[in-house]
């Protein structure tokens, strides 16, 4: 008896090239961390940045490819590549603004940059996953890195609290997600999104087990995108985590979770029998409204941005409710615009210090425009983009989102959305009020740390925000090209 010929599954590393670039960089960083110099680690950050740039360039050069690999578990298509851009930019901006931030805050260590890179690996995998198992894998790689990062300032009580809260609630979310995947597998016999979709179309849609499974999946994603009512962790974690890490949680991890959620919705449950729009509609309205209303009452800037980020998650859900080419494309565009803006806003906070501690209270901004006119101007432009005032990325993004809702006939959703934008204007403008129209509070003044890298991060985000606001057409058509194959 001759043994059956041993066949290896075909491995096409090209499919995971961007993730691979990030992983290799992360590993190199771990080795380089052992070498001198011992007390300065910002060269590791630069190295990590180089890795991110390579991953970004890879994504750009591979534009137009549409391949699957690892037995259709991972895809490298326009959708994934677009999210690679979002995640790449977010990670790059975070690395830039943390280059001297970590050391300044007395926590200089190579692991910080390594963890940021690994978190990015997880995010990229989530965007590329066409199998629920890979979704879970990516989510865990990302989340575990972020749990550690949230508690990175280990001597600070609030940082530890943030890590603990994030970890406990995140573990719950993972449990929900995994349980959902198990139920879906039980009903459809597969974790592959395409095959789940086929099974759903083939009559499994009525199975209550499947509904429960998909519902649990939604809960899991709901945690990661901090949509109401799964948002409880956000404010404390955003406040307690190091500001640069908060930026990553608010941008990259949210974009990755939306990427995975979008793909699941598009590939697995896109059938007439399973209409999720009603549920998403409710989540969207709750997130927008609660996020904005609670943000009104915040005095801590990071906490305020946490609630604002919940609200922005609600705006993105508007696009998912609308669906269709425009709806899905506007989700992609908005996440890009939002990531630029939010990473930039946190980047500005990273630069601010008051008597040696981080300046993250509203009062700390008093009279900032007089002392640091350029920084105040940059932060103001970013805030205007968060409100959605033209000509900024935020305006165009919101226009597309609400436009897609109108097109799909959800006019009231669009109306609720724009009214929410008006509410949001109040608390964003309050920052501008403090910077430009109030005098500095008593005590030592808030100063901007002279940091080349941090300023560069701010310049890049402002440039991105204005560029996307004035000439959005190229990126919007890119987003449309990215989603159209999935809508076949």
């Amino acid at each position: 008896m001759t043994p059956a010929p041993l066949t290896f599954p075909e491995v096409d590393l090209r499919v995971i090239a961007p993730a691979l670039a990030l992983t290799v960089t992360g590993l190199v960083l771990m080795l380089a961390d052992l070498l001198p110099p011992r007390h300065r680690k910002d060269h590791l950050g630069l190295l990590g940045l180089a890795g991110v740039v390579v991953a970004l360039l890879l994504s750009l050069t591979m534009w137009g490819t549409d391949v699957q690999g690892f037995r259709s578990m991972v895809a490298l298509d326009g959708y994934a590549l677009f999210f690679n851009l979002v995640i790449g930019y977010a990670t790059g901006l975070v690395l830039l603004s943390s280059l001297d931030y970590v050391g300044r805050q007395g926590a200089e260590s190579g692991e910080f940059y390594v963890l940021v890179l690994f978190a990015a690996v997880g995010m990229v995998l989530m965007a590329q996953a066409t199998d629920l198992i890979i979704v879970f894998l990516g989510l865990e790689i990302m989340s575990i890195s972020l749990y550690v990062l949230a508690g990175f300032f280990r001597t600070r009580l609030e940082s530890g609290e943030a890590a603990m809260k994030y970890f406990l609630l995140g573990a719950f979310a993972s449990g929900f997600l995994l349980y959902g995947i198990a139920l879906i597998f039980g009903v459809t016999g597969s974790t592959n999104l395409a095959r789940v979709g086929a099974a759903v179309a083939g009559g499994a849609a009525g199975d209550p087990m499947l509904l429960i499974g998909l519902g649990l999946l939604l809960v899991g994603f709901g945690f990661k995108i901090s949509s109401v009512p799964f948002h409880m962790w956000a404010s404390d974690v955003y406040q307690g985590a190091p500001t640069a890490v908060t930026a990553l949680i608010a941008t990259g991890s949210k974009a990755a979770a939306f990427a995975a959620l979008g793909r699941v919705l598009l590939e697995a449950v896109r059938v007439a029998d399973l209409d999720w729009t009603g549920l998403l509609w409710v989540l969207s309205v709750l997130s927008m409204t609660l996020g904005n209303v609670v943000a009104l009452a915040q005095q801590n800037l990071k906490r305020m941005l946490a609630y604002s980020s919940i609200a922005h998650g609600g705006y993105v859900l508007v696009g998912l409710v609308a669906g269709g080419p425009l709806g899905n494309a506007s989700v992609l565009f908005y996440l890009l615009a939002y990531s630029f803006t939010t990473a930039g806003a946190f980047g500005a906070l990273v630069l601010l210090e008051r008597s040696g501690r981080e300046a993250v209270e509203l009062g700390d901004l008093g009279g900032l425009a007089a002392r640091h006119p350029l920084l105040a101007l940059a932060l103001s432009i970013l805030l205007l983009s968060l409100i959605g005032i033209p000509p900024t990325a935020g305006f165009v993004g919101k226009l597309y989102l609400f436009g897609s809702a109108v097109q799909a006939g959800h006019i009231w959703l669009a109306v609720i959305g724009v009214l929410n934008s008006a509410i949001a204007a109040y608390y964003y403008l309050r920052l501008i009020v403090f910077m430009y129209m109030r005098e500095a509070a008593d005590g030592p003044p808030t100063v901007a740390v002279p940091s080349v890298a941090g300023s560069l991060a701010l310049v890049v985000s402002v440039w991105g925000v204005v560029q996307l606001g004035v000439l959005p057409a190229p990126l919007l058509s890119l987003a449309q090209a990215a989603v159209s194959p999935l809508l076949r």
Binding site: I389, F395, V406, Q407, I411, Y426, V433, M437
Partner: protein
């Protein structure tokens, strides 16, 4: 290229000011003023080259901007927008000059925001693409917000935030309406475009959709006008803003609301516009009378002028919704008149404030004895504001009443009472400020007009008299466009009715 030049010369000037060193204040002021003057000079050929015999858009520029979405960079002026463009470019240099000493800190930032504001305002009047229009409309909020919030009075932050939130809430609903219109037009014609001339051709089905769209647009514009009962932001914003801000706010920003009604509400939603005309009449009338009565009892001159704006803009709204040529032409000329008269009133209040640091009527008295020139000009401007024949205010109000009389006599009669009340509050205020004996010692040292202030006020006075004596120079600009607009409203309303009947 002319319209692009008029629109963006101020923005370029703002950029130049940004690059100037902060401590060279004279240079900063000179550059800002020079830019505003240049923008005015560039806008003069618009008047010279304008063909008043046609209703078509002129100086049209059109380039694709986001072709996939049907967004284009489309500019043009007609007899409705040209007077407002010229008003804007005319007042801006005077406003900057008036702020020479009135703005005491951060002149550089002030110059930048004012010039950006000018770009936004001109852009609103010349944009012929709804997307482009909306961008200018929203973008110009922020400079005004900063002008009120940074250089304003004691309660400036409250006033600034209130101004932004009111305007934003209204205009965001308009954004949704723009999107609905865009998709309805696209679904019906398969052409997805934000182009105004194309959308105006489109006959919307009547009934609920048109009503809701009209209301969404009308709310945005009514807040800006402001029409009673959406006027409550106005007294705060006017009183707290620095003189330059008040002038621009009254002279130009309020006109954006009335212009919006003319340019968008009437031609896009003719049936709803006609249907809502009685309601607009009613609110305009309430605004005219209420504004006048509230003005009468104000102890603060600036607040008095602010409430008088509510009254004057009520006249404009009355004229527009008569749908008669006289009413519309009167409305347009009254927009310009209000810009000149109220702008000048705010300038004079600012001059008084710079001298005495108070705006309370009771603090003054007998000023004629110490500052006769100032009081003389003050008198002319007040008379123009209350509509004395021979000055500009009379022309606009007369035409409006002529239009209103053809539509509804009772409304015309009641509105005329508004003119009488205007005489009451303005003349009573003037009497208490300028006539009588000098009752307070401080007022003896009030200086008369400086040469700079003469330069600021004289051009405005020239036009106040010019429009009053020979209005045809200005009304002639608008007549063709107004006739065309009225014709369009009626044919489209008829087409909508035919659509329903079928």
């Amino acid at each position: 290229m002319w319209l692009t030049a008029v629109t963006f010369v101020p923005a370029l000037g703002a950029l130049a000011v940004v690059l100037l060193p902060r401590d060279r204040e004279g240079l900063v002021k000179g550059t800002a003023l020079g830019t505003a003057l240049l923008a005015f000079l560039v806008s003069v050929p618009l008047y010279a080259g304008f063909d008043a015999s046609t209703a078509a858009y002129q100086f049209v520029e059109r380039r694709a901007w986001m072709p996939g979405l049907g967004v284009s960079y489309h500019l043009g002026v007609d007899g409705i927008s040209l007077p407002l463009v010229l008003l804007t470019t005319f007042l801006m240099p005077l406003t900057l000059l008036s702020a020479w000493h009135g703005i005491e800190h951060r002149w550089k930032e002030f110059a930048v925001t004012m010039l950006l504001l000018e770009t936004g305002m001109v852009g609103v009047f010349v944009a012929l693409d709804l997307f482009l229009f909306y961008i200018f409309w929203e973008a110009m909020l922020i400079p005004m917000y900063l002008v009120i919030g940074i250089w304003g009075g004691a309660a400036r932050v409250y006033a600034a935030v209130k101004f932004v939130l009111y305007t934003l809430a209204g205009s965001l609903l308009m954004l949704v309406a723009i999107l609905v219109l865009y998709f309805q037009h696209g679904a019906a014609t398969t052409v997805y475009t934000f182009d105004l001339p194309a959308l105006v051709q489109f006959v919307l089905p009547g009934g609920r959709t048109q009503t809701l769209l009209f209301l969404a647009f009308a709310l945005a514009f009514a807040i800006k006008v402001p029409m009673f009962p959406f006027h409550t932001w106005l007294p705060d914003a006017h009183v707290e803003a620095p003189t330059a801000g008040s002038v621009i706010l009254a002279a130009v920003l309020l006109k954006m609301g009335t212009y919006g009604f003319l340019r968008f509400c009437l031609p896009l939603f003719p049936e709803a516009s006609l249907a809502f005309a009685p309601l607009v009449f009613g609110l305009a009338l309430v605004g005219i009378l209420y504004g006048a009565w509230v003005s009468t009892v104000q102890p603060d001159i600036k607040k008095l002028v602010a409430y008088s704006s509510v009254s004057h803009l009520g006249f404009v709204m009355l004229g527009l919704f008569t749908f008669t040529p006289q009413g519309l032409v009167g409305g347009i000329i009254q927009m310009v008149n209000h810009g000149l008269s109220t702008g000048a009133l705010f300038l004079i209040v600012g001059m008084l404030y710079e001298r005495r640091h108070t705006r309370l009527i009771a603090e003054y008295g007998g000023l004629w004895r110490v500052a006769p020139a100032l009081c003389a000009l003050f008198l002319v401007v007040s008379l123009s504001s209350l509509g004395l024949p021979g000055l500009n205010g009379f022309v606009g109000e007369f035409l409006i009443l002529l239009g209103a009389f053809q539509v509804n006599r009772l409304v015309a009669v009641l509105a005329t009472a508004g003119i009488i009340f205007a005489a009451v509050y303005l003349l009573w205020m003037y009497q208490r400020v300028c006539f009588g004996e000098v009752t307070r010692e401080e007022n003896r040292r009030v200086a008369d007009l400086t040469p700079r202030e003469w330069v600021v006020l004289t051009p405005v006075l020239v036009f106040i008299v010019w429009i009053g004596v020979y209005p045809t120079t200005f009304t002639g600009l608008s007549e063709a466009s107004v006739e065309a607009l009225i014709g369009q409203v009626h044919t489209k309303a008829a087409a909508t009715a035919a659509l329903v009947a079928r």
